[in-house]
């Protein structure tokens, strides 16, 4: 009896193995077909400047083997954890073989070590898979977050996070000194915070009100040019221009809002996309006002409430008796954008608890029901556009004062797409999700610049930043497969009687407009 059962099991295992081998061979074949012209052939100009085809069979073989073994492992392993381990192991093996093949600098111990580690990883994957006991119910992390202790931690976590952000530039300055910390505070700190703020601003329109806006960068541009023009023409200070830029951007938000009131879905997305392009084209072509492609330069730089950051008498360094360094301006900019971003977040969180915020979310869920309850949907949509645009305008005028130079090329569609993907990636409507997504997207791009060690593997001509869009696209595809509703896919109710239960994404609408 038991012999028959074990025989059956063996049969099953053998059948599975055969199926996995078949499918992985097919996957390899597809890879070979798809990547043959790209990987296996390279066109190089020869001495007479004529293109010669050079075969690169090793590349093709590597790609096919990698895909086939990934497919084989995925079919043989059932659990996510085991697959992740196996994938890591596969990458390690690939790195090991790759350095053996390509890199002149690789040592035998490095190659052997990585391949061995990779094989151990894959083996561990199989072990984890076999010993895995299927558990039902939410994972450990979700259960902890739902517990009272977890909730206290997450609410105090926000304050800890803000505290860490406030301390960030000073810690960096103390650790790396003025020259070394500039990159971290400017490229990571300020750049990420600008996109956090833009993401939060767009979140009002897309995440809360459910209106897909593909031209958000237009309001960023309106804010930047407002400050640039007002400051250079009338000599107004930043603190006067900031609210003016916000008001002007909000005005343009309403201007965009009116024609698109009746549009939904694809049509709305198209018109907002066109609006973004119109603003961009106006900036290029209205040379009298905007100076066209050349842009507006020598915009007054940021001052510390009237004290400049230049190396001069009465400047910031002079006044506080510090040695001159441009880092002080950057640190001030960091705190400025931190303040503006937190202002956006505070306002949004507050708005969500006000009738207007609830009306936005209701509008996203069902516009007809909103109208049957006496909600003026025209005003509700226009306020969403106007407030979203206003925060974009604030961020724009910050951008202008930071760069000291604006040109239309800073406001292309790719910026809109980046901001929108931050909102979608973060989880529409979730503030913390949007902030996380901005860190991943913008910080990730910056981090690619740090990956110098890859040059050892791929040669000096290799520049990881060139693969930015490729990695970005791959990451998006992976995200949409595994977390289609973003990092934070649950909705937090704006009011509750007994306990705040997160609303699962299966109920939450994504907006039709």
């Amino acid at each position: 009896m038991s012999a028959a059962v074990s025989e059956q099991k063996d049969d099953q295992a053998a059948g599975r193995m055969a199926k996995a081998l078949r499918e992985s061979a097919f996957a390899g074949l597809v890879t070979a077909g798809l990547s043959f012209p790209i990987l296996a052939l390279r066109a190089e100009p020869d001495i007479r400047n004529q293109l010669q085809l050079q075969p690169r069979w090793s590349w093709l073989v590597t790609a096919v083997l990698l895909v086939a073994s990934a497919r084989f492992l995925a079919l043989m392993l059932d659990t996510v954890r085991a697959r992740a381990l196996a994938a890591a192991g596969l990458l390690l093996c690939a790195f090991g073989f790759g350095s053996a093949w390509f890199s002149p600098l690789a040592t035998a111990s490095l190659i052997g070590g990585t391949i061995l580690a990779g094989l151990i990883c894959i083996g561990a994957g199989f072990f984890v898979d076999r010993s895995h006991i299927r558990k039902s119910g939410p994972g450990l992390l979700a259960r902890f977050a739902a517990s009272p202790a977890g909730q206290t931690l997450t609410s105090s976590g926000a304050w800890v996070g803000i505290g860490m952000l406030v301390a960030f530039p000073l810690v960096m300055l103390g650790w790396l000194g003025p020259a070394g910390s500039l990159k971290w505070i400017n490229n990571y700190g300020v750049q990420i915070l600008i996109f956090v703020m833009l993401g939060w601003g767009l979140n009002i329109v897309v995440g809360l009100a459910g209106l897909l806006d593909l031209g958000y960068v237009a309001f960023y541009a309106v804010g930047a040019y407002s400050y640039a023009l007002l400051a250079t023409t009338f000599g107004l200070s930043f603190w006067i221009c900031l609210p003016l830029a916000g008001i002007l951007a909000a005005f343009w938000g309403i201007m965009l809002g009116f024609p698109v009131l009746r549009l939904r879905g694809d049509y709305l997305a198209l018109v907002t996309l066109a609006f973004g392009e119109i603003i961009y084209l106006v900036l290029i072509n209205w040379v009298d006002l905007t100076n066209g492609e050349a842009g507006i330069s020598s915009i007054p730089r940021v001052t510390f409430f009237g004290v400049t950051f230049y190396d001069e008498k009465g400047g910031f360094s002079d006044l506080f008796g510090l040695p001159y360094s441009p880092i002080y301006r950057t640190i001030f900019l960091f705190y400025l954008i931190l303040f503006l971003a937190l202002l956006t977040n505070f306002a949004t969180l507050r708005l969500r608890r006000l009738p207007i915020g609830r009306a936005w979310e209701a509008l996203r869920e069902d516009e007809i029901a909103c109208r049957s309850l006496g909600i003026n949907t025209v005003n509700t949509k226009l306020t969403a556009f106007a407030l979203g645009a206003m925060f974009g305008g604030f961020a724009g005028s910050f951008f202008a004062v930071r760069q000291g130079f604006v040109s239309p090329n800073s406001f292309t569609f790719i910026e809109s797409a980046t901001i929108l993907s931050i909102v979608v990636l973060g989880g529409m409507g979730s503030q913390i999700g949007v902030a996380l997504a901005a860190v991943v997207m913008i910080g990730g791009t910056e981090l690619l610049r740090e990956l110098d060690f890859l040059k050892q593997l791929f040669g000096q001509g290799f520049d990881p930043t060139q693969y930015r869009m490729l990695i970005f696209g791959l990451a998006m595809v992976v995200m949409m497969i595994f977390r289609p509703r973003g990092f934070i896919s649950t909705r937090s109710p704006s009011i509750f009687l007994k306990e705040r239960k997160a609303v699962s994404s299966e109920f939450v609408g994504q907006g039709s407009g």
Binding site: P355, A362, E365, D366, S494, I495, F496, L497, V503
Partner: protein
């Protein structure tokens, strides 16, 4: 007959055309204050179109929808208002609204006519409580100083919001859903969603509540609970009801007045007893051709006598 002595809503010569299709043809009826008026008819008779005209989702091609929110609408007053081109008038005898001139959200916000939908339209991703708070949007908006004061945290918004929550709680308690206040509305069972949509409409403090097939898809126990709820609304909340319904158990048990339409034309109008015995209604429901009406009429007469 209250629908004759104290009409709340007077539908006069209502016509709605969609291109060449005449969905409603010169329909006139009245709904009495404090009545439960049922609008019945076979499938495709134009009932929901009438609803959409009354609640402003459609602009009627022709006709007048005079709504006397308070007091009694004197015919002279309604005619005078019609001639001015205004949407409403506060007459000494009562406030009159011409619904055909008003956009949908104003009909709910100002004339105080609320509605539900045939296919339930709850805010599925918002909690039960949030649904009821959103329904009180306009008074809360005012309390938050059109967002400005609320954003700055001044004014009595917090107090007003807790009053709104109390109101929501009392309604939830009345239908036994208080325990589920913090759950997403989309997670409720179907029957509870129907009743939640009704109390959400009630949170707008309507004078007239229009229900589009409230008993559709309910089991007998849920239907009984629904009847109880509708009678409570009529008797204790001074709200008149206008309902479209196919379930004759609901129509005959609770309604005070029944209007029957078929192919956009009114074919009968009166008390439930009158309509039940009206041969035209029976003909419309059973699909008898016009030539046979007389024959059916005599048969029904005998049947009615036996009852």
């Amino acid at each position: 007959m209250r629908w004759q002595t104290d009409p709340l809503l007077q539908v006069e010569h209502l016509t709605m055309r969609f291109g060449g299709l005449v969905a409603i043809d010169d329909l006139s009826f009245t709904a009495g204050r404090g009545d439960i008026t049922a609008l019945i008819g076979p499938n495709g008779a134009g009932k929901t179109t009438v609803f959409n005209c009354i609640t402003g989702f459609y602009k009627p091609t022709e006709g007048r929808l005079a709504f006397a929110r308070t007091g009694i609408a004197a015919p002279a007053g309604v005619d005078a208002l019609t001639n001015t081109g205004a949407r409403f008038a506060y007459e000494p005898s009562g406030d009159i609204y011409l619904l055909e001139r008003m956009p949908d959200f104003e009909i709910s916000a100002q004339a105080r006519v609320a509605r539900t939908f045939q296919n339930i339209r709850l805010f599925a991703g918002m909690t039960v409580l949030e649904n009821l708070v959103v329904a009180q949007h306009n008074p809360l908006m005012q309390a938050s100083g059109w967002t400005v004061m609320g954003l700055l945290g001044i004014g009595g918004y917090a107090r007003r919001e807790s009053e709104a929550v109390d109101k929501a709680k009392s309604w939830l308690d009345s239908i036994g859903l208080l325990e589920r206040a913090d759950d997403p509305a989309g997670d409720l069972p179907y029957g509870d969603q129907r009743r939640l949509e009704i109390i959400r409409a009630m949170c707008t403090d309507p004078v007239l509540l229009c229900l589009d097939e409230p008993a559709a898809g309910l089991n007998p126990r849920e239907t009984a609970m629904l009847n109880e709820l509708l009678l409570t609304i009529r008797d204790e909340h001074n709200t008149s009801l206008l309902l479209i319904e196919h379930d004759m158990a609901v129509v005959m048990q609770i309604s005070d007045h029944v209007v029957v339409i078929d192919y956009g034309v009114k074919i009968s109008d009166g008390t439930p007893e009158f309509v039940r015995n009206d041969p035209k209604v029976i003909a419309a429901y059973l699909g008898v051709s016009d030539e046979e009406v007389e024959q059916v009429e005599s048969e029904i007469g005998a049947d009615g006598g036996a009852r």
